[in-house]
């Protein structure tokens, strides 16, 4: 009797529908395509896109000497239009010394600590967002390649696990909305595929720039889950999976989103 019940449970488990497959490359759509023409126009015009203000501030910071080493980003990396081209498209990237992936915000703060001997910028600070926006802008139009590095495989897998894991009081996984229902609406807003190709982005709702981490945290708060901390292993793994899921999509930084 007990064995039969076990078998029944096993049969039910295997009969559950498989998790939705990843969105095929040809069907990947930037959140840009879900926006109204007004918001699109705001992003397309570099003199109307508020993200360009952050990029201008970032350029100033790029050239400013700082820390005990009294070095600017430009002292080592030179002309950002050359050296930073495609960088945002391949982050989070594997850091050999740490043995784990780091996102672009962590990379900047590591650079500040190790090479400029300066204090790290706070998460979501104006300075950090300005620099990540300026660096991200150098990758505009570049295809996303993050996750190609073989060393990242277990971290991408962890990110995928988190993406498909139900959580929070609403008991929803990322995949339930962003793979299964991206063509539908939640209240008046498009659900979208949750593609990370425009970060940092200017969000009209926030009236400010924000990172991918911030966006993930507000999604997690939305399903009433405990949001991952900025820079935590799970946060970076999820960011990495999102980027690998958007493989080949062009970077739009600084994007404008509703």
């Amino acid at each position: 009797m007990r064995l039969r019940r076990l078998l029944l449970v096993a049969a039910v488990v295997t009969a559950l529908p498989a998790l939705a497959a990843e969105i095929p490359a040809a069907e990947r759509r930037s959140s840009y395509t879900f926006m109204t023409s007004d918001t699109k126009a705001m992003q397309d015009d570099d003199t109307a896109n508020p993200g360009m203000l952050a990029a201008m501030d970032g350029e100033t910071l790029w050239n400013a000497k700082t820390g005990q080493a009294n070095k600017s980003c430009a002292n080592c990396h030179g002309d950002a239009t050359e050296s930073m081209k495609g960088v945002t498209a391949r982050y989070p990237a594997f850091d050999k010394a740490l043995g784990r992936p780091v996102d672009i915000e962590q990379r900047i703060n590591l650079c500040r600590k190790d090479h400029q001997q300066a204090s790290p910028f706070a998460n979501e600070s104006r300075e950090l967002l300005a620099l990540t926006t300026f660096i991200g802008k150098q990758s505009r139009g570049q295809p996303i390649t993050a996750g190609d590095d073989e060393a990242l495989e277990p971290f991408v897998a962890r990110g995928h696990e988190l993406f498909t894991q139900r959580q929070g009081q609403l008991n929803l996984a990322c995949t339930n909305c962003h793979d299964d229902n991206w063509d539908k609406h939640l209240a008046g807003s498009a659900v979208t595929q949750g593609q990370p190709n425009g970060y940092p982005e200017y969000r009209l709702e926030w009236q400010a720039m924000g990172s991918l981490s911030r966006r993930i945290r507000s999604c997690m708060t939305g399903v009433r889950a405990q949001a991952f901390d900025f820079g935590s292993d799970d946060m970076v793994a999820l960011e990495l999976y999102l980027m690998s899921r958007a493989h080949g999509m062009p970077i739009e930084t600084p994007a404008v989103r509703p």
Partner: protein, 107 residues
């Protein structure tokens, strides 16, 4: 780190209508919001914007708490002669920012 983006055509034919667009970096804190501790966040907005052409004021706007962060202002004028547009934003807490742009008007 106040920065402005100003979009003025670098040249125009005399008598044509031209569009001027300005984007100013500012948080535009309305003064009605409270922190998690319940304290009122003091108002910090741009209160006035003006544009002068060759010293003469051609456009002015008053701004209020309901205006979004990073105000974007667009307006039109007629290109009459070559010269310089000067823009000025004035706000709370002694905020002042300036920008300028030149235009060459051809017959």
């Amino acid at each position: 780190m106040a920065s402005a983006l100003v979009n003025v055509p670098s040249k125009a034919r005399r008598g044509t209508v031209i569009e001027i667009r300005t984007l100013m970096s500012h948080i535009m804190e309305p003064g009605y919001r409270r922190t998690a501790a319940g304290d009122l966040v003091p108002r910090d907005i741009i209160t006035s914007f003006s544009c002068r052409f060759n010293g003469e004021e051609i456009f002015r706007a008053d701004l209020f708490p309901a205006i979004a962060a990073n105000p974007f202002l667009s307006f039109f004028t007629v290109a009459t002669e070559s010269g310089k547009f000067e823009f000025e934003w004035i706000g709370d807490n002694g905020f002042v920012a300036n920008a300028s742009a030149a235009i060459a008007v051809e017959a």
